[in-house]
């Protein structure tokens, strides 16, 4: 569904991506793990064709209009309310008029919250609205950049449950995070990214087993530390 092979990208003299190879299968939840500046967002930008790689191939095997994207704060107008924010894309995708409210309810922004301006929302609610915008048109591929970064643990868990539910409907999910526990619980496969290189890729539990990092609970952070010598 998603494939990158031998992707190289530099900005001026700095190499940001150094030979990235990855493949995400249909219906999988795949996470790209790494610290800030590892190159996660650059990978998203290349996948969505917002920037071009210096060399290599990147492709998503669905049309651009079948990809849902949630960025940190992108895609929302702070002066419009939640319903109005979704109405723009509901009209573009020719969705039923009831669809925006349905989606808002599914992310816990139904009722009075739907009429609130985006600027009045808390950070967590804002992030859920961004997720609602990304899943509004039931995309076949969902790309999420740090989907739970600003959420409290309870809200983060509810977002993870929602992502599981979306995956059950056949959506392939590609996300970036630096939350190792979340990746461990949520993802089928992960890739550990450090300084523009993928240092490890595979099933998170298997990776932890391989590196004897399961201990009492599987510990991906320990694997990352072992592979890179750097703490997250």
């Amino acid at each position: 569904m998603i494939r990158m092979s031998n992707i190289y990208k530099s900005f001026k003299d700095k190499t940001v991506l150094d030979g990235i190879n990855l493949e995400v299968n249909e219906g999988e939840i795949f996470a790209l793990l790494g610290p800030s500046g590892a190159g996660k967002t650059t990978i998203i930008n290349i996948l969505t064709k917002w920037i071009e790689a210096d060399s290599g191939e990147a492709e998503i095997s669905v049309g651009q209009n079948e990809i849902g994207i949630m960025l940190d704060s992108g895609g929302l107008y702070t002066h419009l309310n939640c319903l109005e924010n979704l109405d723009l894309y509901a009209r573009i995708y020719d969705l039923p008029k009831t669809r925006p409210m349905e989606i808002l309810e599914s992310v816990g922004l139904g009722g009075d919250d739907a009429k609130k301006a985006a600027s009045e929302l808390s950070r967590g609610m804002f992030q859920r609205l961004a997720l609602a915008r990304a899943i509004l048109y039931s995309p076949k591929v969902l790309i999420l950049d740090e989907p739970t970064s600003a959420l409290d643990p309870g809200t983060a868990r509810s977002v993870c449950k929602l992502l599981q539910k979306i995956r059950e409907n056949g959506t392939t999910i590609f996300l970036t995070t630096h939350n190792m526990d979340e990746a461990l619980k949520l993802c089928d496969r992960v890739a550990l990214l450090f300084e523009g290189k993928i240092v490890k890729q595979g099933n998170p539990v298997e990776i932890c087993e391989e590196h004897n990092a399961l201990r009492t609970v599987p510990d991906l952070e320990a694997v990352f530390l072992e592979m890179t010598g750097v703490e997250l």
Partner: protein, 261 residues
């Protein structure tokens, strides 16, 4: 008749909502109108003089800036890219944005025409010309917004809005800026302001022998001709030429950058 696509309607509704939720354009137009009324009250001059002055500022400076502002906001929130991915074509986006800002401009011009006391045929001329100039300004705003240099809108808007006022103080300056459509707004507005107050009469032109329309004013030395025929025609021609140039720039930016400037 051309039916707008669903994408154009979606963009129009979003921009129209933004007009209502962030009514900078309408509020500014209202503030200037109130200022005009206050100035007219204290100076004893007709309100139409001030309507002319502020109309130039709105059409030349504010419309361009507002239009570019919408596009800049859509770009900074990544919505231009999301819309592009969703299949919105640049022309659909531009049409929706144009329609939303132009609708607001039409409303503002109508209010100014009424408050300025332009009735009957004068209102047709006032609205016809200001709407034409507004269309040029909105198109210019879209062109700047699509470009890689949207920040240029502020100096360009300042030039378009303020140059006609400065030019009014000096004949040489007037000649330099004569080919700018916003200066033509001022000329037509002046012509209209005089028309609103003075009589129009026909006389035989001393040079060509044709019967021409003039606006007269009684002075100590007799009748002074304040405005002769040709002001409106010349203004329309210059504005249309400006419009064609802006359209050319728009087509260039549209093809070169689309929604990815």
């Amino acid at each position: 008749m051309l039916k707008p696509s669903k994408n154009t309607v979606a963009v129009f509704l979003k921009q129209f909502r933004s007009n209502i939720k962030q009514p900078v354009l309408v509020i500014l137009a209202g503030v200037w109108l109130v200022m005009g009324l206050v100035f007219a009250f204290f100076s004893g001059e007709h309100i139409s003089q001030y309507v002319s002055m502020f109309m130039v500022l709105i059409v030349g400076m504010q419309l361009t800036g507002t239009t570019t502002g919408y596009i800049t906001e859509d770009r900074s929130t990544m919505n231009l890219r999301f819309m592009s991915m969703a299949g919105v074509k640049p022309r659909e986006y531009c049409a929706g944005t144009f329609a939303a800002v132009f609708a607001a401009a039409m409303f503002i011009c109508l209010v100014y025409a009424v408050v300025g006391g332009f009735w009957g045929p004068n209102m047709f001329i006032f609205l016809g010309f200001t709407w034409l100039a507004s269309a040029v300004s909105v198109l210019l705003g879209i062109t700047m917004g699509l470009s890689k240099w949207p920040w240029l809108t502020t100096p360009v808007g300042m030039l378009l809005g303020l140059a006609p006022m400065i030019a009014a103080m000096n004949e040489n300056m007037e000649d330099v800026f004569r080919f700018m459509y916003t200066l033509q707004i001022r000329r037509v507005m002046d012509y209209m302001a005089i028309r609103a107050e003075e009589e129009i009469y026909e006389h035989i032109c001393a040079y060509c022998g044709e019967i021409v329309l003039c606006i007269k004013e009684e002075t100590e030395n007799g009748v002074a001709v304040l405005a002769e025929r040709g002001v409106l025609e010349e203004a329309i021609i210059i504005t249309l030429i400006n419009g064609v140039i802006v359209l050319g720039l728009f087509i260039f930016m549209h093809r070169k950058y689309g929604l990815n400037g």
